[in-house]
Symmetry: C2
Subunit: 390 residues, 2 copies
């Protein structure tokens, strides 16, 4: 039995697609009770997949361990139920467009009256203020505007790449913000409204590249980290890709030169110090790539490891999941029935933590959720008859 660190924390997640659900998923993985309040047609991500199954793999990964109720907030009875849910909870997570919840009479100012200790996490695209706060915003918009995308793509020939960075980062920052809000609420008895925006998340995540620009005016590009961190990607004689990350310690550089049988490079003035290797990155890359073509990936990794040089094969997702180290970690859950699933990357006592229960079917838990906030069977039947609860 894995520990449920967040046992007893109750979350109302009225959120769609990825940002808000990602935050709820992280909290559910660590043992919080997460009630997903969905519109009558469900979280639009349920039908994202063209196959239109009720619970697609993409929906499951962001909604594991939650319970679901479909509630029509356009009806006054639906809004009343929502208020009761908010009253019963520690946290509300919300990601509709700025002003939408206020127009429904379910904004922070209303809910805090009902529940003074409530943490209200509002997740936005470009923020809830500023000249463009009402623009429709999806992942690529926030990545583009923030400068984050420019660190992944060539601006002269741009391409969208990678996972939904803006969405997921925002969800992760929000999960952190929520626990900070809960901590504050526990201490002071007073809740907080916190806002996490996709745009700000993508800006903050630029870390040292952004700090360097703010300090020195140096504009980073997609190659900046490779040069500064001394990371190299190479192709071996068998066509397989592998990576070397030299970082700063001189011993890694020396080990690399020995690995490729060119110890004379160690003191070569073009590469002798890290700053030289940064300056002459392309030249060194050429030398390394030429060496790489003389042997197989497996041999190179062996040679590099003998010399204690940080290295790894660059794997696709299927190879990664089968890698002995990944298998040994146990970050993927393999249930006796059903599909494998991904846990949180947080372990306790030798085991990664995660919600074993798959994502719920739409409104699967409505009766129990309503009974828990004190509604009678008759009340529930009436809400269903009026299509307030679906």
């Amino acid at each position: 039995m894995t520990p449920r660190l967040l046992e007893g924390i109750r979350i109302i997640e009225s959120a769609n697609v990825i940002t808000g659900p990602f935050a709820g998923m992280m909290l559910a993985h660590l043992g919080a009770e997460v009630i997903k309040v969905e519109p009558p047609n469900g979280d639009s991500f349920r039908n994202w997949d063209p196959k239109k199954k009720s619970v697609t793999p993409t929906f499951d990964v962001y909604n594991r361990g939650k319970r679901s109720i479909a509630l029509d907030l356009k009806k006054s009875e639906g809004r009343e139920v929502f208020k009761q849910l908010a009253k019963s909870a520690d946290v509300v997570i919300e990601n509709s467009r700025p002003g939408a919840m206020e127009r429904l009479g379910l904004g922070w100012e209303v809910l805090r009256e009902i529940n003074p200790g409530l943490v209200y996490c509002f997740i936005t695209g470009l923020g809830s203020w500023g000249p463009e706060s009402n623009q429709p915003t999806f992942d690529a918009v926030a990545q583009a505007l923030s400068g984050l995308w420019s660190q992944f793509t060539d601006l002269n020939s741009p391409e969208p790449v990678g996972p939904p960075m803006a969405d997921q980062l925002t969800g992760l920052y929000a999960a952190f913000a929520i626990l900070a809000g809960v901590e504050s609420s526990r201490r002071t008895g007073i809740g907080t409204k916190l806002e996490v925006s996709m745009l700000a998340s993508c800006i903050a995540f630029q870390g040292s590249n952004l700090a360097t620009f703010l300090s020195d005016g140096v504009v980073s590009s997609r190659r900046t980290r490779a040069e500064m961190s001394q990371s190299y990607a190479l192709i071996a004689s068998d066509g397989l890709p592998f990576a070397i990350h030299l970082s700063s310690p001189q011993k890694f550089w020396e080990g690399l030169c020995r690995s490729i049988g060119q110890p004379e490079l160690i003191d070569d003035p073009r590469f002798v110090g890290k700053s030289d290797r940064i300056k002459n990155y392309d030249e060194l890359l050429g030398i390394l790539q030429q060496a790489a073509t003389t042997d197989s990936r497996a041999s190179w990794l062996e040679r590099l490891r003998v010399n204690d040089v940080p290295c790894a094969p660059i794997l696709d997702v299927s190879e990664a999941i089968d890698h002995p180290q990944v298998r040994a970690l146990g970050i993927i859950g393999y249930p006796s029935q059903g599909k494998p699933w991904v846990k949180a990357p947080i372990a306790s006592d030798g085991e990664y933590l995660g919600a074993e229960v798959p994502a719920p079917l739409l409104s699967a838990d409505a009766d129990q959720i309503l009974a828990d906030i004190g509604l009678s069977e008759e009340d529930i039947a009436e809400l269903r008859a009026k299509s307030v609860v679906c």
Copy 2:
């Protein structure tokens, strides 16, 4: 005065470079007290920058709002001070190689005896168990092995791109894990050792792409998200890049066709449904790129917005920081003295939260930190004389 959500939480950060410091930085931004315990020569990241200033921009961004003490843990008196610090704290963050703290007699089993409520967050590269857990691991190694990198690069011609994803994601997951541990410790009185690894973080962050593989065996590549999310990157007639993110709603597709003056495309069987647009991504990209070359970026963004299509310019970091929406958010702090700095992407009451105090010089706060745990001036002088505290 911005709220300090984590006021009263005390963190001992015995961690180097990015992963652990990133976690401590997040906690400091939200008001926790973070004491950075550094080796006598300081966090190696202080000298990462070839310019070797004591506090470089890259060091500052990961270490704002902390206090610093340089402590020699190789000396028994240094270890004794460390134990007293751990006793005084809610959390210890640690990122040395597996087993290193145990060999010093400062592992979790020792510290929990001293402080039963302690949350001990151990940050590793590839995890603390498994066949490769002792490999030297930096950002590119974890990215490569996890499959995450394969979503950013062409495996036939791989390149390291982007910010230090593995490092920073791990720090962010760790910050979340720490607050979950504190919550659990508050509730039960019993602390926890939590482990966050770079490898697991990079795996978990693959989200829907990984879930789709685990469910259906589909191996995602760098283009998968572009296709599934219907994101397009285009170059306008003035050579400037911009992005469109169609997502699923049909109205965005219709708006796009109208924006480019080709409403007949709306019902074109090649593109009529989202699944068609996914299947014929390259063909649609070609049509859109051809249209893009007929007008300037500013005109395109205007036209797309009129039709409510999610879009944005793809900006570099300097352009992003100057964008009116980013300026309006206030995620960058502009102090009256000193350099601009980056806040946490979490706002309360219209203001993003962040530690206004820059990163400390090495051991700048040693005397105060030692006095706070009850050492006398004589004790401190003796520790300095013996070079236990530097």
